[in-house]
């Protein structure tokens, strides 16, 4: 696989044709949110121009029928529908297992608030969770409903399956909820083994796939995962659309759950999620309909199908290989330049293969702030610095006071580059040159 093979897709991204100070943008922040290709923009526009009506089988007129068909499908007209398109993208059994949400955060919160936890249940998370897969559980813990347990994650982010299995002795774990791929280290967990062990112990598993689904093939049936969450905005799709995949046995029962059976209840209820109401009662829809109350982001949901079609046309294996190639190149160059200096560290495993599309490095120099800002100002290079919503991990690794060191030589600044299909080796070279300039100017290389 060579880097040039994806070059042709760059022209699909209008944002890449912009210029500032005569220079193009270099976007290395796709782990935050990705750029958007024309077919997705066209799909969004088409909704607003052609059929800006409601879906969800509410109205049955011309426009609404078109919206409903584009979401729920209309096989006789050859329309797959967004729900099914998303299901196929992750190899779900059916579109009935796909709930559209606002984003990954909303999807995880839906499980946190809607899963039938009992007092004393425990939720097991990993040691490097995004706040979106930490705070919802801490809140339940604070309310006295559950106990939160976490596995250990070192700077190498190796996952110890035996230590993980021992966690099941620490409490009545009902749910394992873990970032499938870390947004800091880039490491993808051995999910299949994690799930098999959890199931052996009678626990369900939620994988936060926010950084996985956009970058590699994911097969929910092969994994046998119970919940999978991800955001379309990180995968060339529209903003404001997330997905909660739920195994059908957890939401799909027409007769409803038996007492005590694992089950997910809708969190937001109201119009569109019920089949009947009286002044004393309501009848919730089974399946995703019951979870999508109120008028939805139809433009975004429809455009989700365009996003996954776009990615599929390129191929997820090919995207993953391309990202690794860029990561390998940049990692090699950075380590050969600064690896021996003692103040430059790549976080996560040193083998690039395990870091996928993420390259996070730490600069431990006085005033290592403002490097991202300078990369942006000088060469339009957009990266992220800070703690990436993973405060707990860094606090654990470096100690709670690490952000307020008592000496200039203890300053730590963390920077993340995240790659996607539209990045190139040339962009990596420009990044390297600009970074070298900044380091040299600040006297770090003397």
């Amino acid at each position: 696989m060579n880097n040039q093979s994806l070059e042709k897709f760059r022209s699909d991204f209008p944002a890449l044709s912009r210029r500032r100070n005569g220079k193009p943008p270099i976007y290395f922040d796709s782990a935050c949110t990705s750029l958007v290709p024309r077919p997705v923009i066209a799909s969004l526009l088409q909704y607003y121009e052609q059929y800006p009506a409601c879906g969800g089988k509410r109205s049955s007129h011309w426009f609404a029928e078109e919206v409903t068909a584009l979401i729920e499908g209309k096989p006789e007209a050859g329309i797959t529908g967004a729900r099914r398109a998303i299901a196929e993208f992750i190899n779900a059994g059916s579109g009935q297992e796909i709930i559209f949400t606002l984003n990954t955060t909303a999807a995880i919160n839906t499980v946190a608030m809607g899963f039938n936890f009992k007092p004393g249940d425990a939720v097991l998370i990993s040691g490097r969770e995004h706040n979106s897969n930490l705070v919802p559980w801490l809140r339940l813990q604070k309310a006295g409903l559950i106990k939160v347990i976490h596995t250990a994650a070192g700077l190498e982010d190796a996952f110890d399956l035996e230590a993980y299995e021992r966690c099941f002795e620490m409490g009545r774990i009902r749910l394992v909820s873990m970032a499938f791929t870390s947004n800091v280290t880039g490491v993808t967990l051995p999910a299949k083994e994690i799930i098999a062990i959890a199931h052996r112990h009678g626990a369900r598993v939620l994988l936060d796939g926010a950084q996985t689904v956009p970058h590699q093939p994911v097969d929910v049936r092969d994994l046998d995962v119970d919940f999978l969450t991800f955001s379309l905005h990180k995968m060339c799709g529209p903003r404001g659309v997330g997905v909660l995949y739920v195994k059908s046995e957890l939401i799909g029962k027409v007769e409803g759950p038996q007492a005590g059976e694992d089950h997910l209840e809708p969190v937001i209820v109201g119009g569109g999620s019920v089949s009947n109401t009286t002044f004393d009662s309501y009848q919730l829809h089974q399946g995703p309909e019951g979870f999508e109350a109120g008028i939805q982001n139809y433009a975004g949901i429809i455009a989700s199908a365009a996003a996954v079609a776009y990615l599929r046309q390129i191929g997820m294996e090919r995207i993953a290989a391309h990202e690794k190639e860029l990561n390998r190149y940049l990692t090699g160059k950075l380590l050969s330049r600064y690896g021996d200096r003692g103040w430059f560290t790549i976080l996560g495993p040193q083998e690039v293969e395990r870091r996928g599309s993420i390259l996070t490095f730490m600069v431990r120099r006085p005033n290592a702030m403002g490097i991202a800002e300078e990369l942006n100002a000088r060469s339009n290079i957009m990266i992220r610095d800070g703690v990436f919503c993973v405060h707990s991990y860094f606090n654990q690794q470096f100690g709670a006071g690490w952000r307020q060191p008592r000496s200039h030589w203890e300053h730590r600044m963390i920077h993340r580059l995240s790659f996607y299909l539209y990045n190139t080796l040339q962009e990596c070279d420009l990044f390297l040159d600009t970074l070298e300039e900044i380091f040299a100017e600040r006297g770090y290389l003397e």
Binding site: P366, V387, Q404, R406
Partner: protein, 132 residues
């Protein structure tokens, strides 16, 4: 980065930031965390100022920070500039001496100077009121 400020910064690096550090039992302690006033973004920047007073005058000022180089140059200058001043005089400190000593009016540097002066004024106001 502005070349003049950069040179000043590199000198600081060589001299190991002469005013950096804490003053135990400082007469006045001022702190800003993640505040736009020191304009170091939202990435964990912090600035602590320690002032020692004797006979109503500032005899020493030190600081601890995680901030950008421009802010560090500005705070080092501030430590020099307030020395020997009363709190009222320190409150009246303007931006001009900073630009004169630095030999630059770089926009980013200037924002840090303004932020620091505002922080200092706000921090010493209650103490200055007591002095009068």
């Amino acid at each position: 980065m502005d070349q003049t400020i950069l040179q000043l910064y590199r000198d600081l690096l060589k001299k190991n930031f002469p005013h950096s550090g804490e003053i135990k039992d400082a007469s006045i302690f001022i702190e800003a965390v993640n505040q736009p006033m020191i304009d170091c973004g939202q990435t964990g920047s912090y600035m602590q100022l320690y002032l020692q007073l004797e006979d109503q005058r500032i005899t020493e000022m030190k600081y601890l920070c995680v901030c950008e180089p421009e802010a560090n140059v500005a705070v080092e200058l501030l430590c020099e500039l307030v020395k020997g001043k009363t709190l009222a005089e320190a409150q009246g400190l303007t931006e001009e001496p900073f630009y004169k000593i630095a030999g630059s009016r770089d926009e980013k540097f200037s924002r840090k100077v303004q932020g620091l002066l505002a922080l200092l004024r706000e921090g010493i106001a209650p103490h200055a009121a007591k002095q009068n």
